[in-house]
Symmetry: C2
Subunit: 457 residues, 2 copies
């Protein structure tokens, strides 16, 4: 999985040992990936036996339903649907998905629309309309299964009446460049949409609706993932209008947007359905894959290899280069005093750090985290540090991340590379490419943010 | 210990619970402090019984020594000497210390010189000369006890022959503003000194020398604390010259400095003593207090209160505001899933973060860490986050640090304070002062860097 490493750069004994540890770290990362592969994730949580559909802890009697319909949106929704087809076979009556360009699969009765991401396009509008039509036909005796994954917010696109796709794009553009938080951006977007913020559930009612979710957000908040199309919404038209006013965008957005907001605030357009709304009476949600689930699988695998293992967090946030120092400070304590856990051990974390761009290099948050870590752990023996994105892509590169160890800096210097300069230039990709220390997985079909594996012996 | 808080800002039930948790967090911090109080730290590690002096694991027969001499340098060395006088009583023949202005104590046979810190002055030179004279008189039958603590590097000042104090000050000034690492700065300073980098041990030889050390550096590296006056040095004249050349300072330093460097590189001046040098044959070192020891005492105390406890690291480094996010991400995982430890729990860390100044406010790394943490943990229940310096001083303020909890941001907003603005201005002191959430301890006489206490119920 790694680009050809030059082992001659290592002394023999220690080099062999490090090479083995690096391979183990990759295996642990892969064990995490496997658990959140969209097909695998659905198989783990959904089973059918004697007509009983088990979804997590809940059991549904398929005999009680007239039709089973499948809808979904997100990058990973096609493989999720493929697993569901294998489980439910001819019980599926029909269905419709919108997935990212290049992320489609040949399915049975479920139609797949590929659309643009992250900027929505008319194919997304078309696919979403097909989903809405299908849901409008659903009745009390039907079972609808929703398949939601990351990217669903841009793919599931249905401007509220009176608004064009262009209006929505314009508002999104303004919001993304004004400093608004992602929460504020979503508050506005949910109120310019006919499907986000629980409105898909309103369309599906009174059918039973089971939503299977692959989470790509910190904390797995259901109303955040793909803008929560089947989940009670907490935000209101009034809050959406206030966001536009707060960032002085009220006079800049298209007039039709102001019109919708004002009619919404006045109560002339129904707000997004809130907790307790009858449309959620027959709704169930199941997170089939998440960063924590990947970390738990990675922990289980590392323990099977004899490592003591610890999940620090699945909610890691902060500037990548600084967070790296905090993580290495824990690894150093392990090595020196056996706190918080004794060697040999595997310390796992996950989440989504950020990179504040200063230079013009090529890189991503995982590679930058690994570069900063390699400086902090320079010279340490029997320690490897891997950071990689579960979608197989770190920033605009073909790498998922990188591996650092105590020899990284010395090897870089021998090649004439200045680690600090690469860090200053945000050029972590070329740094690790030169060392042969990139983690290359290719597209993984899944996305539960990033994972760090620290192995200490 | 906290400035008057306004409890009326809290709802009654949750407020009472939080208030209790805040007091417990303070008690846990205090338990850590107590263990590294300089007197207490010496009493813990040094005992005398039937003429046997026990220092950590080692035992010395006092009857075998003619004289017992005490020397020392550092902010905490006077209280360390006070404890030693109480233990050894009339067995101490004499001694000499250099301590920071205002950090002296009335002692018995040990003379105390107060000198300037962090910029050395002639009082430091005088006190150091007294120590050198005393050590020069020490013979094989004497026992010398050295008391080293933070600040010793600036207080123990003896320019090597041919160099004036002014020359050293000029070189230090150039080094500190050129971007050199603290390791590089010390490499040069050790080679312009007659006492740093093990040279005090050379003066004391062939006497037996026991050095008691209160560590104020990450990793407790003995050759770093107070520039390691009694410890084998790893750096050379050649490396010192190379540092000056690397930062283009060679032509800027006083000519006398170039002269010393060149004579040293040529071998005409003895280099600092290295590992294996005979002068270390009768040398022993004991760390009597460190960040880890404070954390261990804090852990023990928190466990006695029924909290599961974990020491994450005693080596925490990185930008305070970003490190805060990583720490809070762990606390959030605890709360949500019981990883890496179940509630009720106490997560402890320590070390020394940094603050990159952007604004013109008043603050310190602990208060800035707490401010960033308060934003990351906004709204969380049953959680408090304390960060404070063990010396009782955070930045140029009268506070040691601050306490944050899930109500901090809401209380700030009610007072019209914008947390982000205070963070941008590096004005954490005024933020927490307004809330009454500063941690005020007054001077503690000790310094083992900073401690964070995260309490989750």
């Amino acid at each position: 999985m790694e680009k050809g490493r030059d082992n001659s750069l290592h002394g023999k004994g220690e080099g062999d040992r490090l090479q083995r540890m690096r391979e183990i770290a990759m295996d642990i990362f892969r064990a995490g990936l496997q658990a959140v592969d969209p097909e695998e994730a659905v198989y783990r949580k959904v089973t059918l036996e004697d007509g009983k559909l088990r979804v997590g802890e809940r059991v549904f009697d398929l005999g009680g339903f007239k039709r089973v319909l499948v809808v979904g949106a997100g990058k990973a929704s096609a493989p999720m649907a493929k697993a569901l087809e294998a489980i439910l076979r001819d019980r599926i009556e029909g269905g419709s998905l919108v997935v990212k360009e290049g992320h489609g699969l040949a399915l049975g009765k479920i139609s797949v629309e590929e659309a643009s991401h992250p900027v929505p396009d008319m194919r997304g509008v078309k696919g979403t309309q097909r989903i809405m039509d299908l849901l409008s036909s659903a009745g009390q005796e039907d079972l609808v299964i929703g398949l939601i994954s990351g990217g669903g917010s841009a793919l599931l696109v249905a401007p509220v009446q009176g608004i064009t796709l262009k209006d929505k794009q314009e508002v999104t553009r303004l919001l993304l460049s004004c400093g608004a938080t992602i929460h504020e951006v979503n508050t506005v977007r949910k109120h310019l949409s006919a499907v986000k913020g629980g409105q898909l559930a309103r369309l599906a009612a009174p059918a039973t609706l089971i939503t299977l979710i692959l989470s790509d957000v910190i904390g797995d908040d259901l109303d955040v993932i793909a803008s929560g199309p089947t989940v009670p919404d907490k935000s209101t038209f009034l809050q959406a209008k206030e966001v536009l006013q707060k960032y002085s965008l009220w006079d800049k957005v298209p007039p039709a947007v102001r019109g919708v907001m004002d009619r919404g605030v006045a109560g002339k357009i129904p707000d997004t359905p809130k907790d307790g709304d009858p449309c959620f009476q027959r709704c169930h949600w199941e997170i089939v894959g998440s960063n924590l689930q990947a970390l738990m699988a990675a922990r289980e695998f590392s323990e099977s290899l004899g490592y003591r293992s610890m999940i620090l967090t699945s909610r890691l946030e902060g500037e990548a280069r600084e967070v790296a120092k905090a993580l290495v400070s824990i690894a150093k304590e392990v090595k020196a005093t056996g706190n918080p856990i004794g060697v040999p051990c595997c310390i796992l974390s996950g989440g989504e750090t950020v990179v504040t761009l200063r230079g013009k290099g090529k890189g991503g948050r995982n590679m930058e985290l690994a570069l900063s870590a390699s400086m902090a752990l320079d010279g340490m023996e029997d320690l490897v540090f891997l950071s990689a994105g579960t979608d197989g892509t770190d920033g605009p590169t073909d790498a998922a991340g990188a591996i650092a160890d105590g020899t990284t800096i010395a090897r870089a210097r021998r090649l004439g590379l200045s680690p600090l300069r690469y860090l200053d230039e945000n050029d972590s990709y070329h740094f690790f490419e030169a060392l042969g220390d990139l983690v290359i997985t290719g597209p993984t079909r899944t996305n539960v943010m990033d994972i760090q594996v620290i192995l200490v012996e």
